[in-house]
Symmetry: C2
Subunit: 362 residues, 2 copies
């Protein structure tokens, strides 16, 4: 039988009913075809609003009669830009933009100016991102790690994959390399182009000593953070991953890389015994103090197939990286040194990952 | 050989170097043991700051000599509360709080007052959350869906699992049910207590017509959004899930549930042919207009084992749900009606999920 339309059930009203009617919505940011970006903020009572955007100086926005502050940039290079609004001196996220650079010590808004960078999504086969949750006995907290599985990964097939352990920087969460670094997009693209081999990428939480996030920082905390992180990785994360996933559980099929704090952790975990990784890389690394690499000598060359160290010339850690390279030379530890453009920023690290991953597991 | 400490490489400076020294960090929100919550915002030049918190009226914050506005609540019931700061009339997220109620039309900050609710994390075995990315030919966009796999899920084992397809509401993204709804935590807890059977929960993007998010909305758009969503589900998502995961691919082992718009979609997809789901549930549903359920009659009772409809008494869709129940009665369609406390809010929907899932696949 057929229903009649006896009841009027309008299907339009999905949204939660607001207490008072909101003003008309604004769109921010808006990326035009010519790659100019318009930022907007409705703040009728503010006396000054500045745009604080990555790779640009703070710039005043202009208030319209409708109380909406606006700024349109020049055409921007394809990139992901973090930004905030400075409203009468206070930094705020863009209230109407969902895209963010997440960070445990304060996220910022973000805008993606598309192009053909390695982190731009393309219509290629996609891998998947899995978040695993566990209680860390070593670090004493609840935490998660993310696992990228490449397109076509099938736990029921016999093929075994190599694994890159990829570490974030200080203040990032375990989602840093996916949400901000877009590692899964980069790998999808490189694998589709056959530039990188299909691999898993495991992105753990990088704090061996979680108290380091909250401060105050004791003299030993930096060191403990790194040494205990290695324990979480070798005793907790890697055994879980190698139990759940079809991966080749040998150093030759494991790589470790990281940025900033994670670069230092990669060097420490990669260059000290037990030698669990044949590939070790550091991006803008907070390189370990020498006492932490006690015993490092040229014998490591038999265990580490590639030691790859990159830092941008404008990075505040550049000189430390140069000094670390000198030590490696002195100790006859084989390495590849990459002096790049750029500072201590995500665009550098996305490019580092794009250059590194094609060299792994060859 | 041992290294000397010839180089001083302080390991402390992990963070990005700020252009100017920031003021001392503030902590917001801070949940005390007595469940009072203190919110803080540094905004020395603002003339008025209000706290706009869920389930409470807007309340003025008080400015301190240090330019930090503060408000401490009374003890709050254990719950997750969305909130924003109203700074001279403009709604902003809390700049130093990472926890959010994500939403495609504007996220808010969130604070979790812990307790022993079903969505509080406990030290129980945890499942995993996997995000899958694909290009939808039907909806014409790039999108993702999340899959919760229960603790111990092993794609290599022979056991097959039932699947709940769980749909979000208008303005949510595919992460709504995990980030905001904490469905994975709820399932972990219910499975650990043996209240719910181990099951997969698939959380797709709920827009058949993505333009509905941006407006303007044409008269047919609401209907098209629902009918095309069913196509994305039956033709794209379910086949992918049933290919990749060890799931029982039969209606008896499939459930569909959703909130608000997703409740309407669940009723439409669950009650119209082909009948792919033996369990159908709607939380605060934007129930379909009758013309969309053309042909519905008591023969559906042979196909749908449980039709479960819940709505809070303070929900703006309550009367529509009552009217829909009357239609079901008139048509002799078996159903369970749940008149609950509450309005059109996530606390209601988390509780709905907690009550529903133990009844599934029995």
């Amino acid at each position: 039988m057929r229903f009649t339309l006896a009841l009027t059930m309008a299907f339009a009203a999905f949204a939660q009913a607001p207490a008072t009617p909101p003003p008309p919505p604004i769109r921010s940011p808006e990326v035009a075809a010519d790659r100019t970006v318009t930022f907007r903020l409705r703040a009728p009572k503010a006396t000054e609003v500045l745009l604080d955007r990555e790779f640009s100086k703070r710039t005043p926005m202009v208030k319209g009669d409708d109380g909406v502050w606006t700024l349109t940039t020049e055409p921007l290079a394809p990139e992901i830009y973090g930004y905030r609004f400075v409203v009468d001196g206070t930094l705020f996220l863009d209230p109407v933009n969902r895209m963010m650079k997440t960070n445990l010590l304060g996220s910022t808004s973000a805008v993606h100016v598309p192009g053909d960078n390695s982190w731009d999504e393309r219509d290629v086969p996609h891998g998947a991102l899995t978040e695993h949750f566990y209680e860390s006995k070593i670090a004493g907290d609840r935490r998660s790690y993310f696992v990228y599985t490449p397109p076509g990964y099938d736990a029921r097939a016999s093929k075994k994959y190599p694994v890159l352990y990829l570490l974030h920087g200080f203040s990032d969460g375990s989602d840093g390399w996916s949400v901000v670094g877009r590692a899964h997009v980069i790998l999808d693209n490189l694998i589709a182009e056959k530039k990188a081999l299909p691999m898993l990428v495991v992105m753990p939480l990088g704090y061996g000593e979680p108290a380091i996030l909250r401060g105050p920082r004791t003299p030993d905390m930096g060191r403990t953070n790194v040494t205990k992180h290695k324990e979480t990785l070798l005793q907790e994360v890697i055994p879980q991953v190698e139990k759940m996933y079809r991966v080749a559980a040998s150093p030759a099929e494991r790589a470790i890389a990281g940025l900033s704090m994670g670069g230092g952790e990669s060097l420490y975990s990669g260059l000290t015994a037990p030698h669990a990784f044949a590939y070790v890389a550091s991006f803008s690394g907070a390189v370990p103090e020498q006492a932490m690499l006690d015993g490092l000598d040229e014998s490591v060359n038999k265990k580490v197939k590639l030691l790859w160290i990159a830092c941008g010339k404008d990075d505040f850690l550049f000189k430390r990286n140069l000094a670390f390279i000198d030590v490696l030379k002195e100790k006859k530890v084989k390495h590849v040194w990459n002096e790049t453009e750029g500072a201590h920023t995500w665009p550098v690290w996305r490019r580092n990952l794009t250059v590194l991953t094609p060299m792994l597991f060859r």
